[in-house]
Symmetry: C2
Subunit: 201 residues, 2 copies
């Protein structure tokens, strides 16, 4: 439904906000009207914040997470275990793992997953850069935390092969029944994998 | 929960987005990571869109809705009925009425409601400007669509008194049982008003 009678600059901003994840026409309009209600300072403040992010934030030259300055805050933290690299598809995946608070190694952000459907080959991802890091030495383990879907699995297998003979352990997190789920509604593949991976209790 | 290891410019932008209605830490982080994933063009595009809104959008000098240029799109539409003014608290309220598509008069945006609790007196609202519009003539009816809460009711009564003797009809939308609601869960005041306003069927 077209926005009723809003000025063109507002309509253009709403159209852009609608591209954000989970934001529709109604939410986008609500955001913009809220900002306009707060007065011009709120808008120009946001303009400056977006400028700063656009100007200052770059991929970390080592792990390709978000960095301001040279290395990202994780790579420049000398207390982290540099012998372990956790490979993820994207920055949001890295943030989810960091929030867990249990992982203290470094990361490597691939920038996606291998996908025949979407025509994304290994050369489009930062796999060469991962191999360079491993070949530079001091890495004992590479944990591949790509998605548990076809693309993520394909990518994980490709990385395992690419790292063969380089003297590093390549691991993948366990698949199984997620906490709090009822067996009745689990999909067959998850259940099959959980059964195959059963352990003594 | 603090954001893990994100660059300061990103943390600052997330903190700002958290002020938006219904946006928490998780959603704000998701928005920013999504934008960074789309590349620098997405960010600088947004910066420009916010700039344009901040520079160009002003309150309409007649009705105080959002305008770009001189009058807003509603006030400059000569097909609208200029003899009727619908008084609302805010731009989002106006947008909701426009979306309904049944109202073809003009508007007047007060910029809030009279509130003893929050120390907002009539002089803080655009009530004087409403009186000026009515006194300029050609207005037959003022429909006061302020909220159905204490502040909205107080504001409506104040406007009714201020317009007394100025030869204009002052109305308020019907209160009653909203469509689709079950009587069992209705609050007492809504039910009482609906009963008092009962009509022959």
């Amino acid at each position: 439904m077209p926005l009723p009678k809003l000025p063109p600059a507002v309509v253009a901003l709403v159209a852009e906000l609608k591209k954000w994840p989970g934001v529709g026409e109604k939410t986008a309009t609500r955001y913009v009207l809220h900002l306009l209600g707060r007065g011009p300072e709120a808008l120009s403040g946001l303009k400056d914040l977006f400028s700063k992010v656009a100007e200052r934030v770059r991929p970390c030259p080592r792990c390709y997470f978000l960095a301001e300055g040279d290395l990202c805050e994780i790579c420049s933290d000398s207390s982290r275990d540099a012998s372990t690299i956790c490979v993820v598809e994207s920055a949001p995946d890295l943030v989810a793992i960091e929030k867990m608070g249990e992982y203290h190694g470094l990361y490597h952000v691939l920038g996606g997953a291998i996908s025949a459907v979407r025509g994304i080959g290994p050369d489009r991802l930062r796999i060469r850069e991962l191999l360079d890091r491993v070949e530079a030495g001091n890495v004992n383990e590479v944990i591949v935390v790509t998605g548990a879907d076809t693309e993520g699995e394909t990518t994980a297998l490709y990385i395992r092969k690419a790292l063969e003979g380089k003297g590093v352990r390549v691991t993948r997190p366990a698949t199984g029944i997620p906490m709090g789920s009822s067996i009745e509604f689990l999909d067959g593949i998850t259940l099959m994998r959980a059964m195959r991976g059963r352990r003594d209790i």
